[in-house]
């Protein structure tokens, strides 16, 4: 038991581990036998069903079904016999005949018992089929005829007609067959309609009616296509495909061959049918030697056909067709098609090396042949130099297809060369250049290679000359690089002709230039210019070289190169040299402009030095002069007056005739003045004024003014005189005349003032009239003086208040002189006149005092105090006229005494008012100081403090630094004050006043005022100093307060000094004290 179990287990295990047994398909006969068995079982069951359904509506159906099953068994028997006996033509199968006989009997019975029943058409049709299979065709015709006649609308009638038509067709009765098929086509749409039309097509073919056949086939396709989507029961063939394939024959005879592919494509319902029809058509055209038709069909097959060896045949067909037709318009596409098919074919496995080699050889020749024949056609059709661009593109494509498909072909070099030639002919210069280059690489060291390289250079150059939009940036870059590569190789070989070498060199140089790599272009262009002088390339190289420098803004380089090329020993042609000159000149100007621009804004550069160097280089020329002028402008912008002076000196030496010199010196003077280098400014202004120019008057006047400010009265007068000499228009006299009036007011005694100003009075300047009139009064020329002064008064509005005040004061002085010398004698009217004169004089002084000029106010009040005092005294001593009675004389004396008292009171008030306004207006000039002293001035008081002699400061580093700061910022209060203090410390009080006054104007405070006061006082301007100290004291600076007191005390005004200390409160610390005390 255990052994059995073990054995079973081992068997199971072994079975599990063993591979499954191979089960072959059952033999065909066995399968058929099984079908026979099944049929028999079905027959038996049907018979049983019949017995149970006798007399029922299903009986006829069951009989028909039984007959069909019997017929089916018969067919199985037939197939068994056929399977056993192979393809024997005559089979002896008794079972078949027996069974079919039984089936025929059963159908006959049904048709007898139910002739019009619903199963009758089926019975007739099956009966006909059984007769046909038994070879009893007459019986078949009879049965199918009955069906068609009795049941024409039944679908089986159409099937019967097909069978009947086929029967006629097989017997060669085409007309009858056609009628049978046509009868079907008149029926409703069905599968059989398309089939009938298809068969009708064949009938027409057999009748020799190809047109009718084509129509029938087309209708077969169309009618069948109309049924798409419906189930086609019983269909054994695809009518659409078969009709499409079978119509090829007649199409080739009836229709345009070149439309064949399009015709078939339009009617094909699928790719398989289309390809089958195309293949049939290709065969047909091959047989017919119809190249035109073969073209489109072969192309279509190559495009859509499956990859199989047949495609190679198609390729051959296409090649042959192209050659025969000579139609090369699409030779590129055809070559591409063929090359693609060949490549696909070569990828197939199973090909031997020999087969591959033969295929490659054959089709390489075919594709090359297409290209070369296309090229021949292209060149034959050339008109002049122009070729058909479309055909050229096709030929080029053919060659490219060859090169891509057969990279190892021996003919590759030639093909590349041909391709380049074609592209060249088509003006595709960039592509041509590339392929010429490739051609040269394919056949190195040969003459052809050299020619190809040269052609490459030429074509690349031509391509690069095309408008910018025609080539992409990448193409241009490639073209330039390849041009240089080809050109370099050509030059290296050294076998070019001189003409070629020149062109190649120029092309290389130009390629760098066009690429914008101007540095690289420079040497090469210049080399061409020297090597190929006088040629088109040489001349162009000169232009490009100069332009390259210009584009880089390298004007010095341009100038150098231009001069080299234009030099006497240069081989460059005279015409080009003539062009170079203006370009170089323009470059010189541009270089100067560049330097000047740099000088105007660059940090870290040394533009002045560069401009000066430029001027050295162009010394003696207008350009050199302009360089120096621009350097001067740069120095002025930097506030560097030393450099300005050096440059101005240089311009003066090197370009003494420069029309800019005066303006330049004027600028230098202004710059020096702005830096408070006053002596330099005076000197420069004077130099500038000596040069001819429109600003001579103004410059000399400016020099005089500076001198005046520095206390140099004589020098100032000389400058003003110089200015007057330079006057060319009357209007120019006004300014120097006014300045001479200023001079006269401060420095000149009356006679000299009159001498200087009288000639200027005609200019109509009120300032001149005022000072002249006052001088005339002082000189005792009272009538003239009054007349002159009256002109000022009459001018009225528009005259400056200070001038008007001076004029009024002068008139008062004239009246005072008259008054003080008036002797009434014993004449009572004269006495009356005296009194009137007193009143008029009083009014005149007060009128002058009321004008807003503190100096005139002080002088007028002071003088009126004096005059009033004098007149009061005189009135006290005046004897009564003898004509008066005693009483009258007493009243006269009492009146005079009262008036004298009034005048004394008035004199005291005037003196007091004068002193008061000195404090209130911080005006401490000589008249004010007289009032402060308590003594009214006995002489004309409108005078100024005389400045002391000046001691100019020597230059030093501190001053330079401060001047630089001031030049940089003219409103730098701290720097201005520091400069003033430094000048004062250096002993130049006169000059110190100017920056300190500027500091006060720029917003300086008490410290600056105090410093200014010190300078003014040191310079001799006592009144100015007192005024500044007073303002400083008012600003809260203790030093100002103390300085004011000290200065007043030193001026002999001790009481005023005490009053100052009382009037101004003690202030803050800071500021210098008189005598150097901090």
């Amino acid at each position: 038991m255990h052994r059995v179990a073990l054995s079973v287990a081992l068997t199971v295990l072994a079975a599990c581990g063993a591979p499954p047994p191979v089960l072959p398909d059952p033999p065909r006969v066995e399968a058929l036998r099984a079908q026979i068995t099944k049929a028999r079982n079905a027959i038996a069951e049907t018979r049983i069903a019949l017995t149970r359904n006798r007399g029922t509506p299903h009986e006829a159906e069951l009989w028909v079904r039984l007959a069909e099953l019997i017929g089916e068994e018969a067919r199985y028997h037939y197939q068994v016999a056929k399977a056993r006996e192979g393809d024997a033509k005559a089979l002896h199968v008794p079972q078949v005949r027996v069974l079919k006989g039984q089936a025929i009997d059963l159908y006959a019975r049904v048709l007898r018992d139910w002739p019009d029943g619903p199963n009758a058409p089926r019975a007739w049709f099956n009966l006909g089929q059984e007769h046909r299979e038994l070879g009893d065709y007459p019986a078949m015709r009879e049965a199918l005829g009955q069906l068609v006649t009795r049941f024409p609308a039944d679908p089986l009638a159409a099937e019967a007609l097909i069978v009947l038509g086929d029967d006629h067709f097989d017997r060669g009765e085409m007309a009858a067959a056609g009628k049978a098929y046509q009868r079907i086509t008149k029926g409703p749409p069905s599968r059989t309609v398309g089939l009938a039309l298809y068969k009708l097509g064949w009938v027409r073919v057999n009748e020799g009616d190809c047109a009718g056949a084509l129509t029938a086939f087309e209708q077969a396709i169309d009618r069948t296509r109309a049924l798409e989507g419906r189930a086609l029961a019983g269909a054994t063939i695809d009518v659409r495909r078969e009709a499409l394939v079978d119509l090829v024959y007649c199409y080739s005879r009836e229709r345009a061959p070149d439309q064949a592919a399009a015709y078939l494509r339009a009617r094909a319902h699928g790719r398989a049918a289309y390809v089958a029809a195309l293949e049939r058509m290709a065969d047909r055209f091959g047989v017919m030697d119809q190249a035109l038709g073969a073209l489109s069909v072969a192309r279509e097959l190559l495009d859509v056909g499956p990859d199989d060896p047949q495609r190679l045949e198609d390729a051959r067909l296409l090649h042959g067709a192209i050659r025969k037709t000579g139609r090369y318009q699409t030779v590129g596409e055809d070559a591409t098609r063929i090359a693609a098919v060949v490549r696909r074919h070569l990828r197939r496995t199973g090909l031997t090396a020999d087969q591959r080699a033969r295929t490659v050889d054959e089709f390489e020749a075919i594709v090359r042949d297409l290209g070369t024949r296309g090229q021949e056609a292209l060149f034959e059709a050339r008109r002049g130099d122009a070729v058909d661009p479309a055909l050229a593109a096709q030929v080029a494509q053919a060659y490219r297809a060859h090169l891509a498909a057969f990279p190892a072909a021996k003919s590759r070099g030639a093909v590349v060369q041909n391709l380049a030639d074609v592209l060249s002919a088509a003006d595709a210069d960039f592509e041509a250049g590339r392929w010429y280059l490739a051609s040269a690489q394919a056949q190195p060291g040969t003459d052809l290679a050299r020619k190809a390289l040269y052609d490459a250079v030429v074509h690349f150059q031509t391509a690069l000359q095309a408008p910018a939009g025609e080539r992409s940036r990448v193409e241009r870059v490639l073209a330039r690089a390849q041009l240089r590569r080809a050109g370099g190789r050509l030059l290296a070989e050294g076998r070019l002709t001189a003409d070629q070498a020149r062109k190649v060199k120029f092309a290389i140089a130009r390629s760098w230039y066009d690429q914008g790599q101007l540095r690289e272009a420079g040497d090469r262009l210049e080399a061409v210019a020297f090597e190929a002088a006088g040629t088109a390339e040489g001349d162009a190289a000169v232009d490009l070289l100069l332009d390259a420098y210009s584009t880089r803004n390298d004007f010095l380089g341009l100038i150098d190169a231009g001069r080299r090329l234009a030099a006497a020993d240069s081989p460059v042609s005279p015409a080009v040299k003539a062009r170079i000159g203006p370009i170089v000149q323009a470059a010189e100007q541009q270089q100067l402009d560049e330097l000047s621009l740099a000088a105007a804004g660059d940090e870290g550069g040394d533009p002045q030095a560069e401009l000066a160097a430029f001027a050295d280089r162009f010394k003696g020329t207008a350009l050199g002069e302009r360089a120096l002028l621009n350097a001067f402008v740069a120095a002025r912008a930097a506030g560097d007056t030393a450099a300005m002076a050096a440059l101005a000196g240089r311009i003066e030496r090197e370009y003494p005739q420069s029309t800019q010199l005066a303006g330049l010196l004027a600028a230098l003077g202004r710059a020096a003045a702005a830096r408070f280098e006053l002596d330099r400014a005076v000197a420069v202004y004077a130099r500038a004024a000596a040069l001819p120019g429109p600003d001579q008057v103004a410059l000399a006047t400016a020099a005089g003014q500076l001198r005046l400010q520095l206390g140099d009265g004589a020098g100032a007068l000389a400058e003003f005189g110089q200015a007057l000499k330079a006057v060319t228009e009357p209007a120019q006299r006004a300014e120097p005349a006014a300045r001479i009036a200023d001079w006269a007011a401060r420095y000149a005694p009356p006679a000299e003032a009159i001498a200087q100003l009288k000639p200027l009075a005609s200019a109509g300047d009120p300032r001149v009239w005022a000072v002249l009139g006052l001088a005339q009064v002082r000189a005792g020329q009272l009538d003239d003086g009054e007349a002159t002064l009256q002109r000022v008064v009459e001018r009225g509005a528009g005259v400056a208040p200070a001038i008007l005040a001076t004029a009024l004061y002068g008139q008062a002085e004239a009246l005072a002189k008259t008054l003080l010398t008036f002797e009434p004698g014993d004449d009572i009217d004269a006495v009356t006149e005296l009194v009137t004169l007193v009143e008029v004089t009083e009014q005149a002084y007060l009128k002058a005092a009321r004008e807003a000029d503190p100096a005139v106010t002080a002088a007028a009040l002071g003088r009126w105090a004096y005059v009033a005092g004098q007149v009061a005294t005189r009135l006290g001593t005046l004897a009564a006229p003898s004509a008066l009675s005693g009483e009258q004389a007493a009243r006269f004396k009492a009146g005079l005494a009262a008036r004298a008292d009034g005048l004394r009171t008035m004199a005291g008030e005037a003196l007091s008012a004068c002193a008061t306004q000195a404090w209130s207006r911080s005006s401490f000039g000589p008249p004010a100081r007289a009032c402060l002293s308590g003594k009214a001035p006995a002489q004309d008081a409108l005078t100024m403090d005389a400045l002391g002699p000046r001691r100019p400061a020597a230059a030093n580093a501190t001053l330079d630094d401060l001047r630089a700061r001031v030049a940089k910022n003219p409103e730098d209060v701290a720097a201005l004050r520091a400069l003033g203090e430094a000048l004062l410390a250096a002993g130049d009080a006169h000059a110190a006043r100017l920056p300190l006054a500027a500091a006060v104007r720029a917003g300086g405070g008490a410290e600056e005022l105090n410093a200014l006061g010190l300078a003014q006082r040191a310079a001799g301007d006592i009144g100015g100093g007192l005024s500044s100290f007073a303002r400083a004291a008012a600003g809260g600076l203790e030093a100002g307060r103390q300085n004011l007191a000290d200065a007043l005390r030193q001026a002999g005004l001790a009481a005023a000094a005490d009053e100052a200390l009382t009037r101004y409160p003690q202030g803050r610390a800071g500021g210098a004290r008189l005598g150097g005390t901090p």
């Binding site: 370099g488 210049e526 020993d569």
Partner: protein, 203 residues
């Protein structure tokens, strides 16, 4: 406003800062070390100050790019110089060409030095800009004078560099003139210029 403001007057609210002031130790960062960079996104800065900082930083970047460019150019010229020495045969024009190559190389070297000086100057300016901006907006306190001195010192170096470039350029121009004269004579004498065309022209 003085160059160095005293932010503690306005801000001496925090105890730490107050103590510092009390101890007489104002935070003069600039006295002891470098300048802290400012961010152009710093919200405490107004737009104009940020722009100034950004400009200063840009200047450094631009200057560095110029250094790279100048070095590349100098490298190309060195290679060219070697090729000229090894391969160019232009008879009597060979020596002038070599001299020209040397001159151009010297010019390129001067340009490299100048570019480096520009970087140093831009960096100093950037530090000064950071410091000035920080002081101006009460962010931090720096002693500006040393930074200004550094800028001035580097500006001088920059000016010297520019002069050197100008000099080198002028020398190279003169050498170019001599070379082309010799080249012209060589060509006139029928000389073979192929080596010039292959390697002799400037890169």
């Amino acid at each position: 406003m003085s160059a160095v403001r005293r932010p503690w007057r306005a801000r001496a609210r925090g105890l730490g800062l107050g103590l510092l002031i009390l101890l007489g130790l104002p935070p003069l960062a600039g006295c002891g070390g470098g300048v802290a960079p400012l961010s152009v996104q710093d919200p405490r800065l107004p737009a104009a100050a940020r722009r100034r900082v950004a400009d200063a930083e840009d200047a450094v970047v631009v200057a560095r790019a110029r250094v790279a460019e100048a070095r590349a150019q100098a490298g190309q010229l060195r290679h060219w110089r070697r090729q000229v020495a090894a391969e160019v045969q232009l008879g009597a024009a060979t020596a002038p060409l070599l001299a020209l190559a040397d001159g151009r190389l010297a010019h390129a070297a001067a340009q490299v030095s100048l570019a480096e000086a520009e970087v140093a100057h831009a960096q100093a300016r950037r530090s000064l800009t950071y410091a000035e901006t920080a002081v101006r907006h009460d962010l931090r306190l720096y002693a500006l004078a040393p930074l200004q001195a550094t800028v001035a010192e580097r500006l001088q170096a920059l000016q010297a560099g520019r002069r050197a470039v100008q000099d080198a350029r002028a020398a190279a121009q003169a050498q170019a003139g001599a070379f082309w004269q010799a080249y012209h004579a060589y060509v006139r004498g029928g000389g073979d210029t192929r080596s010039f065309w292959l390697v002799g022209a400037a890169p």
